[in-house]
Every structure is written in C-alpha cells, then in structure tokens.
C-alpha cells in the first residue's frame, strides 16, 4: 500500500469510529431518564415516615404503607440520612468530585463540605447535631491500586470539622488503618465506627472531645446503634472473610453476644433502626436496582420488602429521635 492509500484508509477508519462513538454517546444521552419533574415538599420533621433515596432523589414514604405512594423532592443525593431535623446528603458536584451537604428541616443546604473519593456511608446523630460520612479513596492504598476509606465528622453546632478519623489517637499505630461507618450515641460525643488494620476489622468506640478511639471487638463493620443504645446492628463478614459476603447481625454491647438476623442474603450496607425491634437495610437485585428491606432485630421472623426501588433508609419518626 502506498502512503496515500494508507492515509486515506486511516481517515476512513477515523470517520467510521468517530461516527459510531458520537452516535452511541448521543443515544445514551437521549435515553437517560429525565430528572423527576413533579416534586413535592419533603421535610425532615419527626413523623412516621421513612426517608429514602429513590432514583437519586430524596423521598419519603409513610411507615404505614411503605410500598405506597412516595413524596419525591428535587434534592439529588447518592447517599443520605436524617435525624433530629438534620439531613445529610452526599451528592455529585462534578463528574469527579463529591460534596457533603448538611440540610435543615426544609431540605435547604446550611453547609457544604468537599469530600474526596466516592460516597459510601452517611449518618446523623439522634439530636441532629453530629454528622458523619465515609468515602472510598483510590490512589493512596498501601498495595498499589485498590481503595482505602476516609471517614469524617462534623459538629454542626460548633462547626468543628474532622476531615479524617485517622487524626484520632488509636492504641495501635498501624499505618494501614482505615475507618468507615460511624454511628453516634445519644450524648453526641460517643460514637462507634469500624477500623480495619492488618487485615482485621475492629469495632471501635470513639470520643469526639478527647479525639480517641479504642477497640471493642472484632469483625464488626458498618455499626448502627439501636435507639435505646444497647445493641449494634452491623454487617458481619462470613467466617471473618469479607470475600465470602456479610451476614446482617446484632451485637449486644453489654455481653458482646452476636445474633445473626433472618436475612441470609449478603448485605453490604450500613443498617438503620426503624425502632428498637426492627432493622432496615438496602439489598440489590441482580441488575443493581436497590430495594429497602426490614427484618426483626431479635434474630427470628423473616425479611420483608419495605420500599421497592429505594435505598439509604432513615426513619424520621424513631421513638426518642434516635439515629440508626
């Protein structure tokens, strides 16, 4: 082939490939479901309603009829939680960057924090004062590639921001420690979180004022404190090996006894308490569609499909306003 023939061949290839790519991109853009048009006022007031994320929008459903009609707001979140009249929304700011927004009762943003990496967990303390979040961060892992996590805490009353729990004092000084999944106690100072270090995952009890963390037990991930403060719902790695999946379980803080719940599917979510007897969590179908399920916290009974096509459950009417 002469140079001329080769150049023209290449140009033809470029035209064909560019056309194919542009057509695909335009088709993809056209097929995206438009943002929810009809919106209604969603509030974070204490009421027997469940807050969820539905098609990336904050929405509420009645606890009396969770599968029934839902009120969808215009606020877009990847992950959300609310308690005590304070909401937290992890949303996409640009294709590469995410933002944490603290919302008031009317879903108005009162504070924004730029967060690194991909949103994963979000929590608010029962009083609405303390906010916590976890993101996955790529690039700084300790074995080239893979993820590590960053967990931050914000005191909405004083404005104090802890960008990473790695700043807190921990008895062991392992370099590879990672934190995720915060849950707050009623005093707005004590909290629980998961720390992983050296391949082991610990339940840590934290003290915001003292900036310390101490280990409580092992193999507890994504803890969620019950409204009465006595138990922790969490995901437990099967046989201590997360590659085998997780079993939704409840830990009694007084005895450290662990009760596996009736849900046998692998749950990769931070559970949320609906009341002192029931735990809600997100399960995904084969195509990735999320559903919110609930299961009795005592270990018996059976899982129940609560809200189809939703994720990030938060009960706004939990007695005493406790957080999950």
């Amino acid at each position: 082939m002469s140079l001329r023939v080769r150049v023209f061949t290449l140009l033809a290839v470029v035209v064909v490939l560019a056309t194919a790519a542009v057509l695909y991109i335009r088709t993809a853009a056209a097929s995206r479901t438009p943002a929810v048009g009809a919106t209604a006022p969603v509030t974070l007031d204490a009421a027997p309603v469940l807050l969820t994320v539905t098609d990336r929008h904050l929405a509420t459903v009645s606890m009396m009829d969770p599968a029934g009609p839902r009120t969808v707001s215009a606020v877009e979140c990847v992950r959300a939680y609310a308690a005590g009249g304070t909401g937290v929304c992890l949303r996409q700011a640009t294709p590469w960057a995410y933002q944490l927004q603290v919302l008031d009762r009317t879903l108005t943003t009162v504070r924004s924090v730029d967060i690194p990496g991909l949103p994963n967990r979000a929590r608010v303390s029962a009083s609405g004062r303390m906010v916590a979040w976890t993101t996955f961060v790529g690039g700084d892992s300790y074995n080239s590639g893979g993820f590590s996590t960053r967990t931050g805490i914000l005191d909405t009353r004083t404005g104090t921001l802890v960008p990473s729990l790695e700043e807190f004092t921990v008895p062991a000084r392992a370099a590879d420690r990672n934190f995720w999944g915060v849950t707050f106690a009623a005093d707005d100072n004590t909290f629980y979180a998961t720390m992983s270090s050296g391949g082991q995952r610990y339940l840590m009890a934290g003290d915001v004022a003292a900036r310390t963390l101490r280990p409580v037990t092992t193999n507890v991930e994504c803890p969620s404190l019950s409204p009465d403060g006595s138990r922790i719902a969490f995901k437990r790695a099967i046989e201590g090996d997360p590659t085998k999946g997780w079993r939704l379980s409840v830990l009694d803080l007084a005895t450290l006894a662990v009760t596996p719940l009736a849900e046998t599917a692998s749950v990769d979510d931070q559970p949320a308490w609906l009341d002192d007897r029931t735990v809600a969590y997100t399960l995904r179908q084969a195509d990735g569609r999320p559903d919110v399920w609930s299961v009795p916290a005592g270990g018996g009974g059976a899982p129940r499909l609560l809200v189809p096509g939703a994720e990030s459950p938060a009960a706004l009417g939990v007695p005493g306003g406790a957080n999950g």
Binding site: P116, L118, G145
Partner: protein, 411 residues
C-alpha cells in the same frame, strides 16, 4: 566490553537522519491513542464499579489485583513467541486488539464480578503481550546511538495519551449524561483506531537476513541469561524494582506532609506524569549524548532525593513541587533509558524476549519491595521507613554503577 562501548557508538549512519525513525513515531502514535483508550477506562472504572454497580471496595480490590498482577509473567511469553514466530508487529497487534475487545467486554460482563475480572484479565493479557514486541520494534528500527531519544519520544507520546485519557472520559461522561457504557464504547473505538494505526503505519523489517537462520528455541532464550551484559542489566532492573516503593506510598506521605486537602489528592499523580512527560524526551537525547548509564544513575539520585524530601523538615508548596519534580525526573531518567541500554546488548533474534526479561525482573522486584515497604512503615513509622527506602535507593544506585561500569571480560 560491549556494554562500555555502546554509549559511544555514534555511528556514521546517524548523519542526516530524522530526529527519530518514522516507525518510532508510528509506534508512539499507537501508544498515545491506546493510552487515551486505556486511561479513559482506568479513570472511570472505580466510579463504575462502586457507584454504577455498587460493588464493595473489596470487590474492586480483587479486580484491581488481577489488573496489575497478570502482566508481569505474560511479558516473557509474549516476547518469546514474538521472537519465535518472528512476528513482533503481529503479536503487538494481537495485544492491542485484545485490549480493544476487552473494552466492549465490560459492557457484556454486566454486573458479574467474575465476568468483569475476566475482562480485566484479558485487557492486561493484551498489555502483557504487546509491551516487549513493541519495545523490540523500537530498538530494531533505531540505530543504537539514537535509542535514548527514540525511547524518550515514544514514552513522551505514551504519557501524553495517559494525560488525555481522563479528560476524554470526562467529556464523554458530560456529553452522554453520565453514561459509563458510552465511555466504554468510546474507549473501544479509540482502541480500534490504535490498532488501525499499527496495521497501516508500523513496519517490521526482516531483521535476520538469511531466511534459513534457525528460529530461536527455548534453549536459545535460556542462553540469553549467559550473556553477561544482559545478566548485569537484568540485575540492574531488579535493583531498580527493589528501590521503588510505589506511587501510592509516595503520594500518601506527600499529602500528609503538605497537608494537601484530600480533595486534591489525585492531582499528585497528574503532577508526576507532567514531569515525566516533559522530561522523557530531553533526557533520552541527553542519554544519547553523554551516555545512558550516567542518566540512569541520575535517576537513582532523583529517587533517593524524592524519598529524602518526604522525610525533610520542609513543607508546603516548595516540598510538593520539588518532590513531584524529582519523582517525575526519576521516571524519565530510568524508564525508557533502561530499554535503550538493554536493546544493543541483545541479539536481534531474541530482542523481545530479552526486553521482556528485563521488564519482568523489574516488575516482580517492585511487587516484593512495595510489600516490604508496607511492613517497614507499619513497624518503624513512615519517616524511618522512607529514610530506609532512600538508603536502599542509594545502595541500589551504587551497585548498579558497579555493574554497568564493570570492565571485566567481554560480553
């Protein structure tokens, strides 16, 4: 002594020659286009797996392990097969094509982690297969005196592609309403373009004139290890691997030292590649002028300097710029230069096999050293660990100097 003379064989053939051979520019273009395609996917894969498919980070780690681990040994296989069937272009083409198909495979795999792992393995297989034959083609189309700049130009074009990839992915995401599928399809189209450039513009000249010359067998490949010059280079490459602790650690320390906002963390890698991109070609030219070995050793010095800066009592922007600059300099002074050193030591018939040996030696040593550094970090704390790494870099540089300036028996 072969090695000590190669740096100075600025042959008369070099007169009136283009800056680099057309074939090198063609291979560089293939790499540029292919890297745009590859980095598009690398940039969105974490987002896709975690937010698109809602896989846990652990699952992502498993996939990523396949991603990085699968290439090292395959390189030797690819190099040897390319030499054996004397079709380096065809094998490189197969490697590029495999990676292109893998981009569509991501669509087909759907949410299956096994499927995604398989597709990623195919993609890495393609990269493993193509690297050594491609580098062999570069050395075979360049006179030994100009190898430094040939690799410098090639690596610069490669880095430009890696730089553009995430930007193209960003544009596709924006244009398609955040469709990951559209990124994969576009990445596939770009990868096919790379294959087309290879097929149309890269030429493989017959390197062995007599057709009757026996094809290299496994015994010949094993005999490569008896070539003293190669053995020393293999050892040097392994030492280079031992001296590197991994980008992740460097950036993590830098971020902590400079108290850089966590949001800006990804920009550290961008800073390094910018330095690499700007320095690769000039250092390649310099290597041809003053010798490749001094430039390679300067790379060790830059590496040791990077580690020392990470432990130095300075901070702020000055530290950031100095450390990233030194780190980019390290890459630019070692990556292509090592290949330029290796090329002339190897017989034409086993060029790809030999280059693959050197690359694999470096890669495997690096895997071990990054694990060891992680342990040192946990045991002694970051500052002591990074000072130890600086010491290792200095010792490795010293031993490499001894190896490469060795005046012993002829190779």
């Amino acid at each position: 002594m072969y090695l000590s003379t190669i740096d100075r064989t600025a042959g008369p053939r070099a007169r009136g020659r283009a800056f680099v051979a057309g074939n090198v520019v063609a291979l560089g273009t293939v790499s540029l286009v292919t890297d745009v395609s590859a980095e598009m996917v690398t940039a969105v894969l974490p987002l896709y797996l975690v937010l698109g498919l809602n896989l846990s980070p652990l699952a992502y780690g498993v996939v990523d392990g396949v991603y990085t681990g699968a290439t090292a040994v395959l390189r030797i296989v690819g190099g040897y097969v390319a030499d054996r069937i004397r079709a380096r272009k065809a094998l490189a083409g197969l490697g590029y094509a495999l990676s292109a198909v893998a981009k569509l495979g991501l669509l087909a795999a759907g949410r299956s982690l096994t499927g995604i792992g398989f597709v990623v393995a195919v993609d890495r297989m393609g990269k493993g297969l193509r690297t050594a034959p491609r580098d062999a083609l570069i050395t075979l189309s360049t006179p030994p005196s100009a190898l430094g700049r040939a690799f410098g130009v090639h690596r610069t074009m490669d880095a430009v592609g890696a730089f553009l990839g995430p930007l193209v992915a960003l544009a596709v995401l924006a244009g398609s309403g955040q469709s990951y599928d559209a990124v994969f399809v576009t990445s596939f189209c770009v990868a096919v373009l790379g294959v087309a450039v290879l097929v149309l513009f890269v030429r493989e000249r017959a390197v062995v004139a007599p057709v009757a010359a026996p094809r290299p067998g496994l015994r010949d490949a094993a005999a490569l290890l008896r070539v003293a010059g190669l053995r020393r280079l293999l050892l040097a490459a392994t030492l280079l691997g031992v001296a590197t602790i991994g980008d992740g650690f460097v950036y993590l320390m830098l971020q902590r030292r400079t108290e850089l906002g966590l949001v800006w963390f990804p920009l550290l890698a961008v800073g390094t590649s910018l330095g690499y991109l700007l320095l690769a070609a000039p250092l390649g030219v310099l290597a041809d002028r003053i010798g490749r070995r001094p430039v390679l050793l300067a790379g060790y010095a830059a590496l040791a300097l990077t580690y020392l800066l990470l432990a130095a009592p300075v901070g702020g922007w000055a530290l950031l710029v100095a450390a990233l600059g030194a780190y980019g300099l390290f890459y630019a002074a070692t990556d292509g230069v090592l290949m330029a050193l290796a090329g002339p030591v190897l017989p034409d018939t086993l060029r790809a096999t030999g280059l693959a040996l050197v690359q694999t030696g470096q890669a495997l040593a690096y895997l071990v050293s990054s694990v060891l550094f992680g342990l040192a970090w946990a045991a002694w704390g970051p500052t002591a660990a990074v000072l130890a790494a600086a010491l290792v870099a200095v010792v490795a540089g010293g031993v490499t100097a001894g190896l490469l300036f060795h005046k012993g028996q002829a190779a």
